[in-house]
Every structure is written in structure tokens, then in C-alpha cells.
């Protein structure tokens, strides 16, 4: 029993820490420097120079990483219990569909999420319905289903950790991820 009590206390401490710590689930938008650049500790100065230029200069290489491109928008939000893609996201979906049409080698993952108010297991289905709604909207624009994988995380990967409408609104979402991201 002692073990469980300690466990519970530990959980309390950890979750207390967690609640003050803003959860970073916005991995998708945080990836401007290519991950490879941070692999080696002894980065040669020349590489470092290139990196700096990249940061300062125009990210002309990959439009997916251009913060000014609509392609940088990777999250589509939903209303409570709904899987309808709202009109305001048409431009985002259009941009990604265009990019996928021009870059035939790329694939995407659509990751659906739900807020915490439903049943945990059924929320998997709700996340999936949302991911599927975005898939359909993308497919209509000519992107083949074989290039889109839809996945759900249910309510277990919230973007915001609060328990109010402001948090829930951020958690009812589909995130667009490109292969290799």
C-alpha cells in the first residue's frame, strides 16, 4: 500500500508541476531548423554560418517552413462534438492540397483530437471523424487517399491543459503533419 500512497503523492507532485508548465504540443510549427543541424555537438563554424544565414534570410528552400506561407498553418479547429470543417479553414486546406499536387512524393498524416468532455474511448472515434473530415476536404481537391493517413489520439494529447472552454476549443483539432516531420 505504501507503494501506492507514494505513487499517488508522486503523481500529485508531478501533475502539480505539469499544470504550471505550458504543454508544448505545437511540435509541427516548431520545426524550422532541420533536426539534423542539432545532432552533432562539434558543429563546424561553416555549418553554423549557413544555419545563421538560413535563420536570417528567406526560407526560400521549403515553403512548408515559411512562416508567411499558408502552409505553416497546420491546425484546424472544430466546434464541440462536431466534425464539420469550418469555412475559415478552406484556404489552409487548399494550400496543402496545392502543395501536395505539386509535390507528388509527399504524404500527410491527419491527426485528430478531442476535448476531454466525452467518453475517453469514444473520443478516439470523434478524433477520427475529424481527421476523416479533413481527409475528405483534401481528397476533393485531388489528393489521393493513398497519400493521406488519418489517425486519432482521442483526448490524450491536449494542446491546452485547462478544463474550460478556452482550453477545450484548442483541443478539438486536426493537426496536419508531413511525412518525415
Amino acid at each position: 500500500m505504501k507503494k501506492l500512497i507514494i505513487g499517488i503523492c508522486l503523481a500529485a507532485l508531478l501533475s502539480a508541476c505539469k499544470s504550471t508548465d505550458p504543454v508544448k504540443e505545437t511540435k509541427v510549427e516548431d520545426r524550422s531548423p532541420p533536426p539534423t543541424s542539432t545532432v552533432s555537438g562539434g558543429t563546424p563554424p561553416s555549418t553554423r554560418g549557413t544555419q545563421d544565414t538560413q535563420i536570417k534570410g528567406t526560407p526560400s528552400g521549403d515553403p512548408l517552413k515559411d512562416p508567411n506561407s499558408p502552409l505553416s498553418k497546420r491546425v484546424i479547429y472544430f466546434d464541440y462534438d462536431k466534425d464539420t470543417v469550418k469555412a475559415e479553414y478552406t484556404a489552409v486546406i487548399q494550400a496543402h492540397a496545392n502543395y501536395l499536387s505539386q509535390n507528388r512524393g509527399r504524404k500527410i498524416r491527419l491527426e485528430g483530437h478531442a476535448d476531454e468532455r466525452g467518453s475517453r474511448e469514444y473520443n478516439m472515434a470523434l478524433g477520427q471523424r475529424r481527421a476523416d473530415a479533413v481527409r475528405k476536404a483534401t481528397a476533393v481537391l485531388g489528393v489521393g487517399n493513398e497519400r493521406i493517413e488519418t489517425l486519432s489520439f482521442g483526448e490524450d494529447k491536449p494542446k491546452a491543459t485547462g478544463h474550460d472552454e478556452a482550453a477545450w476549443a484548442q483541443n478539438r483539432r486536426v493537426e496536419i503533419r508531413y511525412d518525415g516531420e
Partner: protein, 438 residues
């Protein structure tokens, strides 16, 4: 048999198990839990449990464990033994007048003695006080680490002798504990003691389900950045990924014979119901719809599958033959009925019903179609029947944190087990015969 006890039994029969349905059970009872019994009624059997001879010298107390076990059922009143001049530990020492004068119906005595090989001999006897006769007597020779399990066995003996139905004190529960960012799949004794972490992951773990023989757990893991179904052998610790198709692999549940799993997969369309071998392999599609079909469970005979579908709009419960075929709708009330779980006798389905934004535990009687809402919510989820069918254990979420609740299958007695801290989710009550030797 004691006339009072016999009368009790007759009453029970006459009122069709009404009293038996008062069973309540707290799986994590300890000083850290506030047990808030919101309803309490019915007759309790007055029982005296005398400290076993030499218990004070034993490495593990036995009688306090028995007392707590019996108390939590709500079916027993523990008689105060203070002021008894001679506390009996042998049958010859019992002065039955001491106990009849305290309206005691049942009496437990016993002893604990070391054996030459370093183990402990635990003897116990259960008496019918009015009849002055012994109902049962057992002797166990166990190591110190098995003594708590022995206390549960004795509790089961007492429960079964006095109530004529099997006790659940020696069973185990599984649940997911979230500690900070870490998810732990834990297995504990039914009273919450001896928790053991069988899997720890930074990615979500969900939907633990016991194999019918209690040797394995199936669950959903997100270790590979997507949902897959894993079966883990609790003895060897061996894990095998049994469902890793394109898309989501989730909501597993065992067939009654343990050979198959029903799962929800999105490999061909939005979530549909499939059956896979429990060791992994080809998925046989059961439902064919354009809607979400998920959260499936086999019926007691394994012939049908009860599942959730939103084919009519909101999610409702449906049934379909396990090999596919005609789908029949089971729930018509409310707009959100999910997470069905079969009762051990196959007559009831416990599920989660949302009404006015509140998630509550309900039961559906399959024969009559009658629905009985058992809890008040607001975020009650993941019901799981005790193996004797008397109690439903569930997750009760408040402020984003899961605790456990227990409700009698008729809803008359509710317990909210609020721990001071901790996030416990998706409890699953294991079958009989899963008590691990310690």
C-alpha cells in the same frame, strides 16, 4: 444454520437478490481515500472477528485485512469485541453467550504460528453463533509474503459461506495511472494493495482489458506515435503487437474463449469493427458501414458483438453477429450511449450515457431493453463489472483528474473513492483466479 442467517437467505431469495445488490466494494481503500457512501440501506450480517492467536508476532496482520474487506462490501456489520473477558482463539474457549448477547450471528477465530521451515500456519474457523456450530475451518501454511493473499482467501471463504455467492477479495484490477507526463499500466489486488507497474510509457496507454484466464492484458499503446493494440503476458512480461494496421487500432476486447480480440480499425474506412486472432494476424471485418463503428464487446456466449455506431446520428449501442450480418439497434434513449461492457452472466451491458452534458454509468438489461442510470456524473466513464457481477467499478473524472468510483449493479449503493491526488483511469476488474502468489 443460524435462523437469522437463514431468514436472511430466504429474504434474499424472495426479493430476487435485492439485498445482494447492496454489495459495494472499494478497490483502493486506504487512509488516503475518502469513501463517501451516498446510499446505504439493507440488512447487514453482524459478525465478530477476533484477533488471531499470536497475530501480534506475525509479520503481517490478518484480521484487520478481513475486517476491511468485509466492511467494504456493505453487507456486514463488524461487532465490537471490546469488553469480552475471554477472547477465544480455540473452539473450546468460545462462550457463545458473550456473542448472542451482542446480537452476533457469525464469529471468526484463528491462530498464526511459525512452522519449523520458517513459514506460517494460519488457521481460521467460522461459527454460527445461534446454532453454536462451526460453518467452516481452514488451515494454510504460507510464507510471509503470501499472508495478505491468505487474508483475502479467508475473506472469500467467510463471504461465500454466509452469503452463498463467490467473493471477489482475491481478484485483481488493472488501470492506467498518469503520473505527470508518464503513463503507467498497473495491476493491483482488488483492494488496491500491491500495485505493480507492468508498463510505463511517455505516450498514452489506454483501454486495458483482461484475458478471460487473467494471464494477459490487451491494451492500446501510442508508443509508435499512433494507436496499436498490444497483448502483454503478465507472467513472462512478453509483449506482442497484435494489431498494427494503417490508421487507428483501438478499443480491444477479448472473446469469451480468449482466442480472439474484437477491435476498431480505420484501415479500410472510418472506424469499423474487426475480429483478429489474439496472437495477431488477419483482421476479419464485422461491420460494413459509412459511419463510425467502435467500442465493441463480445456477448457472453461469444456469438454476438455489441458495439457503438453513429449511423443514426449520435452514438448508440447496436448488436451484430460476431461473423457479421444484420445489425440491431439496442439503445433508443438519449443521444450519446457509448463504451458497452458485458456483465459476467451476459444479461446486462454497462455503458456510458451522456445526458445534458453529463457522462453517467448506466446498465441495459438485454432481455427487456430496460435502462437503469446508476451514477450522477458528470464525467463517469469506463465501467467494469466485478467477476461476481455485483459491483461496477468506473472512472470518475473531476478537474481533469481520474479517480475511481464503485456502484452496486442496481445503483442503490454508490461510493466515490476520492484520493487526495492521482489520476487513475480506465479500471478493469480481472476475472476469478488471477490472484498472484506472493
Amino acid at each position: 444454520m443460524n435462523p437469522a442467517i437463514r431468514l436472511f437467505s430466504l429474504q434474499r431469495t424472495a426479493v430476487a437478490g435485492l439485498l445482494a445488490l447492496l454489495v459495494i466494494f472499494s478497490p483502493l481503500a486506504n487512509a488516503q481515500l475518502t469513501i463517501d457512501v451516498t446510499t446505504s440501506a439493507g440488512r447487514q450480517i453482524p459478525i465478530a472477528i477476533i484477533s488471531f492467536a499470536n497475530e501480534i508476532n506475525a509479520p503481517q496482520n490478518i484480521t484487520p485485512v478481513i475486517v476491511e474487506n468485509l466492511k467494504r462490501t456493505g453487507l456486514f456489520r463488524i461487532v465490537n469485541t471490546g469488553g469480552i473477558t475471554t477472547t477465544p482463539t480455540e473452539p473450546s474457549e468460545i462462550n457463545f453467550l458473550d456473542w448472542t448477547s451482542r446480537s452476533t450471528e457469525a464469529l471468526v477465530i484463528g491462530s498464526i504460528n511459525p512452522t519449523p521451515d520458517g513459514r506460517h500456519e494460519i488457521r481460521f474457523r467460522l461459527f454460527d453463533v445461534a446454532k453454536q456450530s462451526q460453518l467452516t475451518a481452514m488451515t494454510y501454511v504460507v510464507s510471509a509474503t503470501q499472508m495478505r493473499a491468505t487474508a483475502h482467501k479467508i475473506s472469500d471463504e467467510i463471504y461465500e459461506k454466509l452469503l452463498n455467492e463467490k467473493g471477489i477479495f482475491s481478484t485483481r484490477i488493472a488501470y492506467v495511472l498518469k503520473r505527470g507526463q508518464r503513463y503507467e499500466l498497473q495491476v493491483a489486488d482488488a483492494d488496491g494493495f500491491n500495485p505493480q507497474t507492468v508498463l510505463s510509457s511517455l505516450e498514452p496507454i489506454r483501454s486495458p482489458k483482461w484475458s478471460p484466464d487473467g494471464s494477459k492484458l490487451a491494451y492500446v499503446s501510442f508508443e509508435s506515435q499512433k494507436s496499436t493494440v498490444i497483448v502483454q503476458d503478465l507472467v513472462t512480461g512478453q509483449r506482442s503487437t497484435v494489431s498494427n494496421f494503417k490508421g487507428d487500432n483501438y478499443a480491444p476486447n477479448w472473446s469469451p474463449d480468449g482466442s480472439k480480440l474484437v477491435v476498431a480499425l480505420s484501415k479500410d474506412a472510418v472506424s469499423q469493427i474487426y475480429v483478429i486472432p489474439a496472437t495477431g494476424g488477419a483482421a476479419v471485418r464485422v461491420t460494413e458501414s459509412n459511419s463510425i463503428d467502435t467500442n465493441a464487446t463480445f456477448t457472453g456466449d461469444g456469438k454476438d458483438i455489441i458495439f457503438v455506431s453513429d449511423r443514426s446520428g449520435g452514438p448508440q449501442l447496436y448488436s451484430v453477429p460476431a461473423t457479421g450480418g444484420t445489425v440491431k439497434r439496442l439503445t433508443f434513449e438519449g443521444s450519446y450511449n457509448v463504451n458497452p461492457r458485458m456483465s459476467p452472466d451476459g444479461k446486462y451491458v454497462a455503458f456510458v450515457s451522456r445526458e445534458a452534458g453529463k457522462l453517467r454509468i448506466a446498465t441495459l438489461e438485454l432481455a427487456s431493453g430496460q435502462i437503469n442510470v446508476l451514477t450522477d456524473g458528470p464525467l463517469d466513464d469506463s465501467p467494469s463489472f466485478s467477476p461476481n457481477g455485483r459491483t461496477i467499478l468506473y472512472e470518475s473524472k473531476a478537474g481533469g483528474r481520474g479517480t475511481l468510483g464503485a456502484v452496486s449493479a442496481d445503483g442503490r449503493v454508490k461510493q466515490r473513492l476520492s484520493s487526495q491526488a492521482g489520476d487513475v483511469r480506465e479500471p478493469a476488474w480481472g476475472p476469478y483466479g488471477t490472484s498472484s502468489a506472493r
